[in-house]
């Protein structure tokens, strides 16, 4: 079983709320603009992520998901 943490870049509005609430300071905002003209969040330090889903809970745009997959790698 693998957990897949995924931020849908084009759905993210770069509000930074996830960055602020992550207990592990995993997240940062990108300097690359997305298709909507926002600077999306990304896991700057994915290795620190404890998959607590706090960022998911906070994200107003439901841009973050954590899924499980039977295969080794996330899609």
């Amino acid at each position: 079983m693998t957990y897949c943490y995924h931020i849908e870049t084009d759905r993210c509005k770069g509000c930074g709320l996830c960055v602020a609430v992550c207990p592990k300071k995993v997240l940062e905002l990108s300097t690359q603009v997305n298709s909507m003209g926002y600077f999306p969040a990304y896991q700057a330090r994915p290795e620190d992520c404890i998959l607590c889903a706090i960022c998911c809970t906070m994200c107003p745009d439901v841009a973050i998901s954590i899924t499980e997959t039977a295969s080794d790698a996330c899609p």
Partner: protein, 259 residues
Amino acid sequence: MAKLFQRPKSMFDVSTHYCPGCTHGVIHRLVAEAIDALDIRGRTVGIAPVGCAVMAYNYIDCDFQEAAHGRAPAMATGIKRVRPDLMVFTYQGDGDLASIGMGEIVHAANRGEKFTTIFVNNAIYGMTGGQMAPTTMPNQRTTTSPFGRKTEEVGMPIRMAELLATLRTPGYITRQTVIKPKYIQKAKKAIERAFVYQMENRCFSFVEVISTCPTNWGMTPKDAVQWAEDVLLPYYPLGDQKTPDSEVTEKQVAAAGAA
């Protein structure tokens, strides 16, 4: 322990028109999660307000009606009275519910209409560009209170949960917020509970949710949640104002007192 997280099933997979960091999106998700949890999508009718959430139906996937400004509780009454088997919720802003729609919410609540109201209080008129709301804080600047809300002139902000809780009939009245994850968990439970009371045909249920409007507050999303916590929450305390259980005793008292 790792947690799974996905877009609720009753939410369309589209991006919203809300501003970055606007917590309307969180509240939408909680409603959709409650619909999923109770498995009621097939018999739920939402009522979208006139306000930033006017297109809530583009995001939550169940039957929807679009209200006129402030009149969602009357529409919900219309639906619920003729189709009590449907689950009906209104989603209303503070301009919508506390200003123009004051009469409708007080009366629907007082009749004990068996629907659920999600009241999104962001202390401002979001959609129309940041005018003063009845919930705007003292000295808060808005486009129609450019020198700040002067309470000597327009009074103190209205606390809807407290106001409705003075009525005898309505059952579940609570105030929550979604500005931080810890509050979001509680808000989620409250919304679910509100739907459950409706499902059990017990009472009118009302969940006030303190929300943000970074755009019209003129703040970054981060500053907005902080301002909400520092300034709104002390005036708008979180928690249940009334639950149907406490109401039962109330009712007995009332019955005794009355004819």
